[in-house]
Symmetry: C2
Subunit: 291 residues, 2 copies
Amino acid sequence: MARRSLDKLVIFGVGLIGGSFALAVKRAGLAKHVVGVGRSRANMEKALRLGVIDELAEHTAGALRGADLILLALPVGQMRRVMRAIAPYLETHTVVTDAGSTKQDVVAIARECLAVHLKRFVPAHPVAGAELSGVGAASADLFVNKNLVLTPLAQTDKRVLKQVKDLWEACGARVSEMTPRQHDEIFAAVSHLPHLLAYALMDVIASKPNAAKLLNYAASGFRDFTRIAGSSPEMWRDIALANRTTLLNQLSVYQKQLKRIADLIRKSDGAALENIFTRARNARAKWLLDK
Amino acid sequence: MARRSLDKLVIFGVGLIGGSFALAVKRAGLAKHVVGVGRSRANMEKALRLGVIDELAEHTAGALRGADLILLALPVGQMRRVMRAIAPYLETHTVVTDAGSTKQDVVAIARECLAVHLKRFVPAHPVAGAELSGVGAASADLFVNKNLVLTPLAQTDKRVLKQVKDLWEACGARVSEMTPRQHDEIFAAVSHLPHLLAYALMDVIASKPNAAKLLNYAASGFRDFTRIAGSSPEMWRDIALANRTTLLNQLSVYQKQLKRIADLIRKSDGAALENIFTRARNARAKWLLDK
């Protein structure tokens, strides 16, 4: 199906994700004019200079006039403020979508703020983070072969859903659909919890009086384990709070696992330890093969 | 100083570390004849075929006859058995060194098994693991710019210490010295604990009924975080048990940190969470710059 180009695409938050979406959609020839809105003047001017956006919005009303599609690519803690700000200016044809890393909270905020416009809101999560942030890290290739999860509501207009799906597929993403709750459970396990664990270890080590000496002997295993502790603190603070219930459940399961491992070490149960390590290694090897 | 080539180098455990040492020492022209001893016949024949070793030992007595240097590159759980086996055949000039990932236990075993030969034993740890194992992964470049920690004893002969140091430097390693206890505390923090944490997470996820679905959405952050969970289960079982006291202490500190983070999430203390994440990110960024 031939996809119609957007006359006006508006991006709130022109960082790694928002900027990469702008570049990818433009490269696919699917956006004629891209307007950026953001908190950091320096970042926005850089986005303009890099050609990621064509216009830097001066105010919300002007930015949204005639907008075909609005992408909210913000830390989820910003969603309520921004949805409230845009709601009065949404035109009947304007589609709103987001790139938030949690979905139940974003959907709840949309229900609260977007009212009659809810049918034209498509909750989405591009699974393409990186420990880099800011528009300087944006790339038209960021989403190629990456997962993009849509969590449509009962109210979501099917054609609007299709339009957003097509856009992300044009960016190279592998699009799938699930409920907001399924989404938050999956990502608590494979993304939110590991981020917490990496931040926690890095902070424990950095807080020790001999941190410099310890880190002098840290090698590539440590570097890779803590890579995600280089991610945006604000973004991950928001995710931890937004997905709190699910994340605390998963953290509790993990704490039980650590207690179990500590008990095995304490009683020198090498066979049981080796079983855990072997199951883990085999599961990971199978996963890498299947990918 | 010109380094004298070893007439006979004997390696117990010709895997990633033992095999790489053989290749690096040979490339430096510092070993004329390398004999391998190992449990897996298939691995040893591969080592011979790849030219990593020149001879596959049939029995310990023959292997050790005229040996200048013996490297024990084995999981630390094997050290007692092997030190007991070699002790009766050590010649007065033979130097023994090891590549064990823990040092207090290896030193204790050496004190117990090597007796009068203790002065010619140099405890060492090349910090160059990988999640790959076996001689097929060996490389003459493995130790280039990697840390090599020596933990000499009061009894260690200074010339013997120097000889081992020179050999590792010829392999490209950055050699430093510390006590066995300092060594085990440092590596519990930056290596042993992260390995446990990665194995623990991978096993928690693999044990869930929807593991395949979860892993389908796991991305590069998860892949890097769990890379070390691809390491040898036997080796890490041995390390966890050998360094038990220190590791359990560090694990306990980490569990307290997780509890603290869970409490902050529970009471929505975003500022305190963000502080932890920011400290972690900054410490990591500084570390990468300093490296």
